[in-house]
Symmetry: C2
Subunit: 376 residues, 2 copies
C-alpha cells in the first residue's frame, strides 16, 4: 500500500468494497518495463484495467495499446492514442468488428487460423497481421489453455498464405501464460518463433516483428523476477535465436503494469465456525469471486491481505465472499492465516488488485453493484 | 425453444449475444411447483434472475421472495411485493443492511452462526429467524461448498439461544445443492431437521417452519425428475419425520422457476483448428464464461445447444468464448458434438439459460457489454 493510497483511505473513508489505484505506481511500472526492454514497444493490455485515467497516463508516456474489442479500441482513441498505436490483439473477431477497426484506422491485427486471416484480408485490406503460436504455459499461475494460437508448423503455412493475400505478413506472437515466473518459457517460444522466421525467409517472405506477449508477474504472496531479470533473459534469448538480425519487438504487459498499483478495501461481514470442533474460522468479506476477485478461481491468484491487527497471533481461516453462491469461496485449500483479533466490521486491504478486478466484476449478481474504483 | 421466443427472433433479429425469456414458461413453472407442493409457500430465489418483468409476474401469482441483499429487497418492493412476502435469506449480512431491511419491514431472516444471530437481534428486534444447516450437496451439478449452514448440533444450540434473545426462533433451513437430481437428499436433510425440532421441543421451544431451499433441477442435457416427483418425495419425507404434526414449509426455487424459460442466442465468431492433426475443431461463440455463462465453470452446467444445421453429420468440438482470457473455455472435457456444416456467422441457441446468466455477466470484461435481455 502506497502512502498516497493510505492517505486517500484516511481522508475519504469510501464505502466498501472499492479499489484504489495509485497512478504514480503505474507510471513507475511503465518506466521500469521500458528500461528493462528498451528496444521493445510496449502495448499495454487494456483488458487488465481500461480506466480512462490509466489509459490517458500511458498515452502521455508513449505507450501503445493491445485491445480485445471495438469498445477497448474506442477507449484508447478517446484517451488520445492514435490508431497506429493500437493493435487488435484478439484472435477471435467478428467480421463486422474487423471492418469497424479498419475504418477507425487500426492496421495491426492478430490471428491464429486461416479462417480469421481470410476475415482480416477481406475486411481490413492492407493490414499488418501477426500469427499467434501455441505455448504450454508451464509455470504460469493463471491457467493457459490451448484456446489461443496454433502449432508453429501451421503458423508457417498461414503466414506464407498471408503473403499471397491482401495483407502484410508482419510477425509472430506468443503468450507464455499470465503471471509467469519461469524465465526459460520465453526462450522456448523464441526458439520456435525464430524457426518460423527462417522458414518464411527461405520462401522469400521477410517477417519483421516478434510479439513477446505478456506474462510478466506482479508480486502477490510469492517472490517474482524483477523487470530487469525478465529483460535480460528475453534479450539473451533474442540474440541466441536471431543473432545480430534482431526483429522489432512488442511486449503486452497488463498485470505487471497495473496489478501492484491497486488496493481493494473490503469489510469483514461475518466471522464464524460451522461447529465447535471446526478447526478453521470462516471469514466472509464484502467482496468475492463475483465482485471483482474472479482470479481466485481455483485459487489461482493468491492475493496478500492486510488487516488492522497484523503482527499479533494469527490462525488459519477460510475466506469467502458475500453472495448466496456456494462457489463464492476465495481460499479454502490455500492456507491463509489471519489475526485472532480480527473482528466483524474490520476493514481489510487486498493488495496488488489493480489488474483484472474492476471489469471482471459481475454486473449485478445477488443485487451487488460492480466494484467501485478510484484513480489517484 | 418456445414458439413465442422463435417468433421474437424471427421478427426482431436482435444483436447477439442476448437472452430472451418467455414469461408464460415462468408462469407455468410457478403453477407446476405450486401444484407439486401445494402446502409450501414459494419464495422465489431472486438471484436466479431479478428482472422486473419476472418479479412482477410472480408478485401477481402470489409468490414470496428469497433475497440476498438490500437491492434485491428493493427490486421486490418495487415490483409490488409487500415486506411480509420477502425473506432476507443470505446468512452473511452487514449489520447496516440488517437494520435497513428491518426499517423496510422485513421480518424473516436467515442465519447460521451466533455472530449473525446477535447482529439480527440487535438490528432487527422481533424478527423471525431460521437457522441454516449444512448438507453434503451430493448429487448436485453445481458444487455445494461448506460455505453456508452449520452442523445440526450447533443449530440446536443457536435456536435455543435465539429463544432468549429479542428474536423469534422460527425454523430450520437447508439447501441440498443447486440442480439436485437425487431425490433422497431432501430426506436426509429432513431427518436432521426433525431432530432439531424435537430437541428444541424438549426444551419448550416450538419451531414452526422448515425451509426446504431450492435445488429443483432444470432440464439441460440430462433427464431430471418432474416437479411432481420432487413433491411426492418431499411430502413423504415430511410425513415420515414429522408425522401428523407437519410444520409450515417454504421452498426457494430459482433455477427451476426461470431456467427453462430463457434462450441465449449467440453467433459463431470463429471455427478453427490448432493444427492439421487436431481432432476437434474449436468453435468460438460471442458469449462465454464472462458474458453470462459463468455456470460453465469447471463445466458444471452443461447447456443444450441448437444450431441451424442440426440433424446432419456432427463432430466433436471444443467450445469457447470471445474474450482474450485463456480461462474462457466453455466445454473441453465434456464431449459436445456440433454439425460439420456449422459456419462462422451462424446463430446458435443456448437453451435453458433463463437462470444465473444476466446478473453473473461481467460488467465490462474485454470491453464487452453485459448480456442484453428481453422478457416477452
Amino acid at each position: 500500500m502506497t502512502e498516497k493510497i493510505a492517505r486517500f483511505f484516511a481522508e475519504n473513508t469510501p464505502a466498501t468494497p472499492c479499489l484504489v489505484v495509485d497512478l504514480d505506481v503505474v507510471a513507475n511500472n511503465y518506466a521500469n518495463l521500458h528500461d528493462a526492454l528498451p528496444e521493445a514497444r510496449i502495448f499495454y493490455a487494456v483488458k487488465a484495467n481500461p480506466a480512462p485515467e490509466i489509459l490517458k497516463l500511458l498515452v502521455e508516456r508513449g505507450s501503445c495499446f493491445d485491445t480485445a474489442s471495438i469498445p477497448e479500441i474506442q477507449y484508447c482513441l478517446t484517451a488520445g492514442a492514435t490508431a497506429d498505436r493500437i493493435s487488435f490483439g484478439n484472435t477471435i473477431k467478428k467480421a463486422s468488428d474487423i471492418a469497424r477497426a479498419h475504418a477507425l484506422g487500426i492496421s495491426l491485427f492478430a490471428f491464429d487460423s486461416m479462417e480469421e486471416l481470410e476475415k482480416i484480408a477481406e475486411h481490413a485490406p492492407g493490414a499488418r497481421v501477426f500469427c499467434r503460436i501455441l505455448t504450454s504455459g508451464e509455470g504460469a499461475d493463471w491457467p493457459l489453455s490451448r484456446k489461443f494460437g496454433c502449432e508453429p508448423e501451421m503458423a508457417t503455412e498461414l503466414l506464407l498464405a498471408a503473403a499471397t493475400m491482401n495483407v502484410v505478413p508482419y510477425g509472430v506472437s506468443f503468450h507464455v501464460g499470465s503471471q509467469q515466473r519461469d524465465l526459460t518459457q520465453w526462450d522456448k517460444a523464441l526458439a520456435q518463433t525464430a524457426e518460423i522466421f527462417h522458414a518464411l525467409e527461405d520462401k522469400g517472405v521477410m517477417l519483421r516483428m516478434v510479439n513477446l506477449g505478456g506474462g510478466f508477474a506482479t508480486r502477490y504472496l510469492k517472490d517474482i523476477p524483477s523487470e530487469g531479470e525478465y529483460g535480460n533473459a528475453i534479450e539473451a534469448s533474442l540474440r541466441k535465436h536471431f543473432g545480430n538480425r534482431l526483429p522489432e519487438t512488442i511486449i503486452e504487459p497488463g498485470r505487471s503494469m497495473v496489478g501492484n498499483a491497486g488496493v481493494i478495501r473490503s469489510e469483514v461481514v461475518l466471522i464464524s465456525r460451522k461447529s465447535h470442533r471446526d478447526e478453521r474460522r470462516w471469514v466472509y468479506l464484502d467482496i468475492g469471486k463475483f465482485g471483482g476477485l474472479a482470479e481466485t478461481m481455483d485459487e489461482a491468484i493468491k492475493y496478500k491481505i492486510q488487516t488492522p491487527h497484523d503482527g499479533g497471533a494469527a490462525e488459519p481461516v477460510i475466506l469467502a465472499g458475500p453472495t448466496c453462491d456456494s462457489a463464492d469461496v476465495l481460499y479454502e485449500k490455500t492456507e491463509y492465516r489471519l489475526p485472532v483479533d480480527l473482528r466483524i466490521g474490520d476493514k481489510v486491504d487486498i493488495l496488488a488488485t489493480g489488474a483484472y478486478t474492476t471489469t471482471y466484476s459481475a454486473v449485478n449478481f445477488n443485487g451487488f453493484s460492480p466494484l467501485a474504483s478510484y484513480y489517484i
